[in-house]
Amino acid sequence: MQQDDYILELNKITKLFPGVRALSDVDFKVVRGHVHALVGENGAGKSTLIKIICGVHPHGSYEGQIFYNGKEMKFQHIRDVEQVGIACIHQELNLVPEMSVSENIFLNEKPTKYGFIDFDKMYVDSMALLRQIGMNTEDNIVISPDEKVRNLGIGQKQMVEIAKALSKDVHLLVLDEPTAALTEAEVDVLLDIINMLRSKGVTCIYISHRLDEVMRIADDITILRDGQTVETRKRENLNKDTMISLMVGRELTNMFPRVPHTRGDLVLEVNNYSVENPDIPGKNLIDNVSLKAYKGEILGMSGLMGAGRTELFTAIFGAFREPGQGEVKINGEDANIKSPMDALQRGLVLISEDRKKLGLNLIMNIKENTTLAALEKVSQAGILNEDKEVHYTNEYKESIKIAAPSIDVKVSTLSGGNQQKVVIAKALFCDPKIIVLDEPTRGIDVGAKYEIYKLMNDLVDQGVTLIMISSEMEEILGMSDRILTMANGRITGEFDITEATQEILMQASVPGR
């Protein structure tokens, strides 16, 4: 029977970390030629399972057996895995930023001629691969093989990773959260590529938090929870709600806890605000933007990747490389923000989309991160009062439910959702009037997302003005009271939530011409 043609079979995999059982007796069977999705909350064991498949955890460090094409495999090294035709694309991309696209694609096996690298062949082959995945066409080169990877957007880097995987003879492609940082349009491209690969007989293991994509692309879906396989089902026998309830072990009645807000006073007013593109002098990255944000509302900022939403608010926050030109008023007064220090003093906080790089100090613990932006609140004459720190941090740990054994735990050991909660605690500790949340739930599991949404509602009730930048249409529509769309550094539309639909927003977000 065809059902039994498994390319990969994992039997009773148990992986112990010192003092903890990351996986217990996990069975995972992947049918040849299928797209097999692996879903579960953060910390459910997906990454550990993938690391076992990809040889990061070598044979012997776990219990159980791996069969690949019917033969038992004892992978010792990532190279062993690559040799049999398994390629892994990890969440953190493994590209060399200072090298060109083509050099990255052929990083391990550069084509040579008389012992020298054959750059021409490398260029041509890279171009062919990029065309194959639909990035480049005859008359539109999106990614030049000669471009340095440093200069690419995160979505484009992802495509380079895929091209790199395809440059080898790959039978099984493992994609770990490939769409976490992509825009909807880029996601479509990626899913098309996976479809194309499937039609060529390549098997895919696809890990994602975005359940809609999973429903769109997967043939089979395996749900992991707390290190155990909950179920493997065909896609037809699953829907999103069941999937979510299997993942979290409870029925989520509503993904978005919408409560009615009443708009209050005008808090933030931006007039004719422009920011020059630091890489292209003379060209505006943000072009003559004006917007208003009110007390007691969530203002959603919608748009495609590269529309300039992050840059706009980073500039207003005083942290962008290029200072902005124009008027920014907070509570009717000229804000005159030149640095994040000024912004925090005026009550404006930015929760960045890149929490590991810009939000947290990973080698510090929860307590030190929480109090970092407002140390004056826990000190007298420059001397820290640790007990006050402990006291306040514990309060936040309780009220926003940071799951950790104690506040002395390093934030690097927390899951994405809990890290994000620490960033939020840190922002709240500054007693902000305006919070800009840039992709507040990126890479976060469903349960934690819901808690963050509820927290956002609480904040609005407390009179904080929230501005939410999000690339997830559902989130924008589910949480905002008012929505602004941006494209090419300009505001392209303003919609009340009652009139906004996915189609309307998408139309406003697509750059003209």
Partner: protein, 395 residues
Amino acid sequence: MGKTEIKKARYTTTKKFDMRTLTMVAVLILLWIFFTFATSGGFRELGTSFLSTRNLSNLMRQMTTAGIMGISMVLVIVTGGIDLSAGAVVGFIGCVAAWLQVYGNMGTLPTILISLALSVLVYVLQGSLISYVSLAPFIVTLGGQLVFKGMILVVTKGSTIAPLQESLLYFGQAYVSKPISLLIGIAAMALLLLNELQRRASKQKHGTLTEPMQAMLVRWGLFSAGILAAVLIMNNYRGMPVPVLIMFVLTLLLTIIADRTTFGRSIYAIGGNLDAARYSGINVRKNLLLVYCIHGLMVGVAGLIMAARLNASTTNVANMSLELDAIAAAVIGGTSMTGGVGRVAGAILGALIMATIDNGMSMMNLEAFWQYIVKGIILVAAVWFDIRTNKKRKG
């Protein structure tokens, strides 16, 4: 999510902290046992061996310069910086002090004040270039090293300026009398207890008290025993050496600055993640400059003590590469070169290990080159160990 991950976190954090410090303490103890064995003819003549109180007193004196430079070097490295000019500036300050006393006919107090002010000024300059002009610390201080090696020759014309006034020598050569040493030791123990009790009271007030009274008393007892042992060993010879006392006071001061002030927290934040620190509204430039100022003060103190010990200008000191000793002390003491991690007191442990090697090997009458080789190996091994534990932590 949850339990499993959390347990893992707890496991790794506690384990890491203990291993790092304990390993270096173990290395130190092993070195001491080895040198004692090698210098006492198999533990027979302890009185003249490495472990004699006279030698231990010398050992402490030898480590003061690297120790004092090391404790502030920790802060510099924590911010992600480095200071290659420290050795040259120590020499320069020592020469200036000697010049002031011999040719300037200045008293000891003005000499000290001018020397320290000059040292801070030197680091205000270097620190400004690093923080406000955003030049790389490596380059700025490498340049500084060359400049101050040259400045030494400007001040001394290449000769030795001597002798210094008696009152300045006090800071490099004198001993605190035995009863006063004991008194200082007891005072330190009492202060420690007061501090512990105050912390307890404060914790109780904020409802965060979890530690039983016994645990606190045991900890205090251990620390006090350490202090008492050190004082008694020093008193068995000639009392607490003044420079050693200065070193301990400065270590305490810098520890408080690093661990208990907003400034200290800020510099760890800057070194750990510069962007995140900036986004948190920390005044990166001001804090960086302040770190270099404090470092300048410590380097100045080290220069004065050095000159006082030699009773002459420190004309040749710049060629001893003291900055490398200070960096090594910091690194052996657990400071990470990538920034954000390091403890002030660790540099004292590091300096003690380095001084132990110097001292023990010269007592064994081994040639000087062995000292370099062994110190080099220990330095690299310490960093290797650091990286290994870091990898484990990341899992």
